[in-house]
Subunit: 299 residues, 2 copies
């Protein structure tokens, strides 16, 4: 596939995700809650997780309606985690996606509630009622909820954040750092791939390969994040640069050094592509190009 076809697919997919989120995140929720939720999730972000869901679904010729719902659900989880992570009791950050963070804009209490309601909304989005038009087979609803809950909870994202909290100012070896990032970021990226795959009839070999792809890509994402934290400025990142360094948090750059971190990112990209090659799926070009975009991004 040519780069311009991929670019067109990304643009179309992003428009679809934005429209779906716009219709699913309620403007009318009471007492300003909907406004805060919409502020936190609409109109910003790279939407990498939704793109992974949609690309993975396309690779297995899956159910596109279900995949779009899954794409929105995983983005809601990601966005809620950013709202809570930015709060004063966590990272105390004021800038996100080039805008004031949600608690700066709406106050801490509303930000906490908005995050909580976004997590619940993710599971609503995955379980459309028949009275709402339905549209996802119940067994697939259950499977998507299972994948999303496990990847965002104590054994996934929330667990990784707890390790992160506990590790500030402490020396970590690469294995512990890898475990922390696998949980904190990697597991949800991998789950995005698996949720897309769950929307179609993927064979066992393909499912295993997509899982390996998701694991390598998830880790590559974090390695690149750590590299960008020290090599880019805040304006390009749309968030505060250098904050891990300032907070004395261990990163791939602080543990491995910049050059070895760059080499690791390339190695993980190669692993991700090798997994795709082993999947037996006919068209994995979007997934392959997403791996490139993760490693080559500048923000």
């Amino acid at each position: 596939m040519e780069a311009k076809d991929f670019g067109r697919w990304v643009d179309t997919s992003l428009s679809g995700v934005e429209a779906a989120l716009d219709s699913l995140v309620p403007a009318g929720a009471p007492a300003g809650l909907g406004e805060a939720m919409r502020y936190a999730v609409l109109g910003g972000g790279k939407r990498l997780r939704p793109l992974l869901v949609l690309a993975s679904c396309a690779a297995v010729n899956g159910d596109e309606f279900a995949a779009m719902r899954a794409a929105c659900a995983v983005e809601l989880i990601h966005a809620y985690s950013l709202v809570h992570d930015d709060m004063p009791c966590m990272d105390n950050d004021v800038l996100r996606r080039g805008k004031p963070t949600t608690h700066v804009a709406y106050g801490e209490a509303q930000a906490m509630l908005a995050g909580d309601a976004m997590q619940a909304l993710a599971f609503e989005v995955l379980t459309p009622l028949e009275s709402e038009g339905g549209g996802i087979p119940p067994a697939l609803q259950a499977r998507l909820c299972a994948l999303l809950a496990r990847s965002s909870g104590y054994d996934g994202m929330a667990g990784g954040q707890a390790i992160d909290l506990a590790s500030i100012g402490k020396p970590l070896d690469e294995a512990t750092l890898r475990d922390m990032h696998r949980r904190k970021t990697g597991v949800l990226l991998q789950a995005s791939v698996m949720m897309g795959a769950a929307c179609g009839p993927a064979a066992a070999q393909a499912t295993k390969s997509l899982s390996d792809y998701g694991a390598a890509l998830g880790l590559a994402f974090q390695v690149v994040d750590d590299i960008l934290d020290v090599t880019q400025d805040s304006a390009v990142l749309g968030k505060t640069a250098g904050k891990d360094q300032d907070a004395n948090k261990p990163t791939y750059v602080s543990v491995l050094g910049l050059e070895a971190a760059r080499a690791l990112a390339q190695q993980l990209r190669a692993e991700a592509k090798a997994a795709l090659a082993a999947s037996g799926l006919a068209d994995v070009s979007h997934l392959s190009l997403l791996a490139d975009s993760v490693v080559e991004r500048d923000n």
Copy 2:
């Protein structure tokens, strides 16, 4: 049914719920997160929501394994909401169930993460994987997730909390107060009844009646809560008494006066029992006695 049979059923049910929660909330979650989650959910609380799930399931001769999972899931949602509600940016409370609140015991960041992970765990608990022994038909998993997500999110509990936040110090009429409490407390209590009912093959009339029962009971619970807040001391309540009054929050007592609030609680109990009588279900005695215990409780 005699009171002592009901008492025995309550004791057996509470032991079952406690054992199930103990096995489901992970001690081993990383970096102290599991410890904070267990502190927040084990060994305390009236467990009213789990009892409603189990009693409703029994009334429809439903699937007891699924109902126990649903009972734990709804209690995890309730417990996470208390953790977040007690935090300094919300109610800033230091005492809950007679113990220091979770953020006092573990710090604000860990408390926020524990609440987030408890919400995710609720949906894990509802979606047991085949590799974990399965045990709930996928369509029922999806239905339970749908009910739980909708009752805890923007249109339910989180939305009610947002109205609560926005209403401090403002005069509210009874209709607005009722809407706030319906969302904040009532909808999750009603969902507990409906999750139990979903575990069995309830007829449409029974489902409608159980929904009416849950709505009346949910409101009665909050009216009684408001009464106890002014008539009991902290030692009996296990939480800070008089705090709504101190925070200048509108309550049923401040809006209606104490005697009218007591009369409303009695009226709602009668409505709940009338709904049970109309259900056509053979044995609703546990649900009926739970309505009594909600209205007659002293904490």
